[in-house]
């Protein structure tokens, strides 16, 4: 009663498992080793630094979790967290919706689509410092074009970058403006992978454009949309150069616009408090991964259960 076929099957399964493992590790090895050396290594080093009170030159005494306790009491940091959260909430949904609309328009291959695509990428092709400079000039309270045009039309002008109430929205707008192009590019590459015959079958069945969007496009675009959402959120949460160049340290609107990474920059580079800055950075990574990991876990589970859907 030897279960020869079963023994053979489990032997085959073992060999396949081994083969999968070998191939899997081999294929991810170059990338993972590189990431480990260049990203995870420094992150661990930062965590180590955060347990001391090192100054600009690295010398420090071990203080345990004192830096982390200080983080919780740092009023400016707490304000910066609120600013960053608001910034993300403003930038991500708008850029996703706008990016999706643009991707859909580009996907329909109108005449001159290559020109449209190139020009939509122009804000992203430009150096952030340059973009910030251009917008800082456009939004200038006294000489800027926007206020100039509004003034000529008799409409109220605002101090976009010096008014604490308005500045956060101005910066969110500029950030959205620069991220829409690549977002549309990524989403369009996702759209291109949806097989056309799904749409043709739906059209034959009489489905409207809106129904096609809801039942074919969005579900099949889901992996790409998820990717775009995650990356945009991470980028928005890490904004710092826009604030640095458009607002700057002497601006009264700084308190309502400075982001977490701006505080990190101040602590690490301006004030030279390496230990405290490392704690801030490590906490930032932990918080981000803490928010991201469950989301990814739940999403991957669904992927494995339903295969590709």
């Amino acid at each position: 009663m030897s279960t020869a076929p079963e023994a053979r099957r489990s032997g085959v399964a073992l060999r396949r498992g081994l083969r999968d493992a070998l191939w899997g590790y081999a294929m991810i090895a170059p990338l993972c080793l590189g990431l480990a050396a260049l990203y995870l290594g420094p992150a661990l080093a930062a965590a180590a630094t955060s347990l001391g009170d090192a100054g600009r030159f690295g010398e420090g005494v071990w203080v345990g979790l004192a830096n982390y306790r200080a983080l919780l009491a740092d009023v400016e940091l707490l304000r910066a967290i609120a600013n960053t959260a608001r910034f993300v909430a403003l930038t991500v949904p708008v850029s996703l919706v706008w990016g999706l609309a643009t991707a859909l328009l580009l996907h329909s291959r109108p005449r001159g689509v290559a020109v449209y695509r190139a020009l939509y990428l122009l804000p992203a092709l430009t150096m952030p410092a340059a973009s910030a400079l251009i917008w800082r000039w456009l939004l200038n309270g006294d000489y800027g074009l926007l206020n100039g045009v509004l003034g000529v039309l008799g409409l109220p002008t605002l101090r976009y970058l010096t008014d604490a109430e308005v500045a956060p929205y101005a910066i969110a707008a500029v950030a959205t403006w620069s991220i829409v192009g690549p977002t549309a590019l990524v989403l369009e590459s996702g759209l291109r992978r949806i097989p056309r015959h799904y749409y043709e079958a739906a059209r034959l069945d009489g489905a409207s454009a809106l129904a096609r969007l809801r039942h074919i496009t969005l579900p099949l675009l889901a992996p790409t949309l998820f990717f775009a959402a995650v990356v945009t959120t991470l980028l928005a949460a890490q904004t710092f150069d826009l604030v640095l160049i458009m607002v700057g340290p002497t601006n009264p609107a700084l308190a309502s616009t400075q982001t977490v990474l701006y505080r990190l920059y101040v602590e690490a580079i301006v004030l030279g408090r390496s230990g405290y800055a490392a704690a801030m950075g490590t906490a930032f990574i932990a918080m981000t991964m803490g928010l991201l990991a469950p989301l990814l876990w739940r999403y991957s589970r669904r992927e494995f259960q339903h295969g590709h859907e």
Binding site: W23, G24, M27, L31, M127, L133, I134, L185, V186, R193
Partner: protein, 277 residues
């Protein structure tokens, strides 16, 4: 996967027009600031500061551009930036597609945990990385070199994430058929799956080139000699010297933006031609 759309009278033309209007309005917002920058670069300082703002310069001040070209060795800067960007794009496409495929389609032990670790790299704020990267490049003896400059950009969690999602979006039947035919993972990857994620590969290459082009902090830190500088670093020095000469700065920005944009448009045109054939 090119198909032709069946023509129906009347509706396609109106829909196409609406689409063009929508795209063009978005385009105005995207491109408008650059048009303004171009105009500003051709004005005198006095004209640029006028209130209410003047639209066109009285006479185009090409001297602004001459001054910028005088101040920076643009040819060398373009060459450096292009080499670094190109190498990074090539390496990233290769490594991220390999790893992305494995994470998407090979069930190996610890895969999900490892992928989470890969993503963790995305959460690391840039200011924390600059000093460790500098120390690593220093220990390798690659300071002030193009390979030292390129190193941190060779490995991308972003690219891996993107390619993994792209591979996941491909229906299971294709790779499964390949496996039934006896293909091993490399063959499935190379001959079946990789061609199917073409748009994502191109997108990743483009984004990597753009990001390398614009990178500022790292090139400033790792290279001190002017003949190894990239474009962004060169422009930063321009900003340092001529902080209040707005038209001059704008001219510099125009010169910096023009090449990647031109190359990109040309690349798109070439792709479009090839697709039509």
């Amino acid at each position: 996967m090119a198909t032709s759309k069946p023509r129906r009278p009347g509706r396609p033309e109106r829909t196409a027009l609406v689409r063009h209007i929508a795209l063009a309005s978005g385009l105005l917002v995207m491109v408008g600031p650059f048009a303004w920058m171009l105009l500003t670069s051709l004005k005198t300082l006095g004209e640029a500061l006028q209130v209410p703002p003047t639209l066109l310069p009285a006479t185009p001040q090409w001297s602004n551009y001459a001054a910028v070209l005088d101040a920076l060795p643009f040819a060398q800067l373009y060459a450096n930036t292009t080499i670094v960007a190109g190498v990074r794009a090539a390496v990233q496409v290769a490594l991220c597609s390999l790893a992305g495929y494995a994470f998407a389609r090979i069930p190996f032990p610890g895969r999900d945990a490892l992928f989470l670790l890969v993503l963790a790299a995305l959460a690391i704020p840039a200011p924390l990385l600059t000093l460790p990267h500098y120390q690593l490049v220093g220990r390798l003896g690659w300071l002030n070199s193009l390979h030292g400059l390129a190193l941190p950009g060779l490995f991308s969690a972003f690219g891996t994430f993107w390619l993994r999602q792209s591979f996941l979006a491909i229906p299971n039947d294709l790779p499964e058929a390949a496996e039934l035919d006896g293909a091993n993972h490399w063959q499935t990857y190379r001959h079946v799956m990789l061609p199917l994620v073409g748009p994502s590969l191109v997108g990743l290459a483009v984004i990597t080139v753009v990001w390398s082009w614009n990178e500022l902090l790292w090139p400033l830190v790792v290279n001190s000699s002017p003949d190894r500088m990239t474009l962004a670093a060169g422009l930063a020095s321009l900003q340092g010297q001529h902080a209040t000469n707005i038209p001059l700065l704008m001219a510099g920005v125009v010169l910096a933006v023009l090449p990647p944009l031109t190359l990109f448009v040309l690349g798109q045109a070439v792709l479009a031609c090839r697709q039509k054939q």
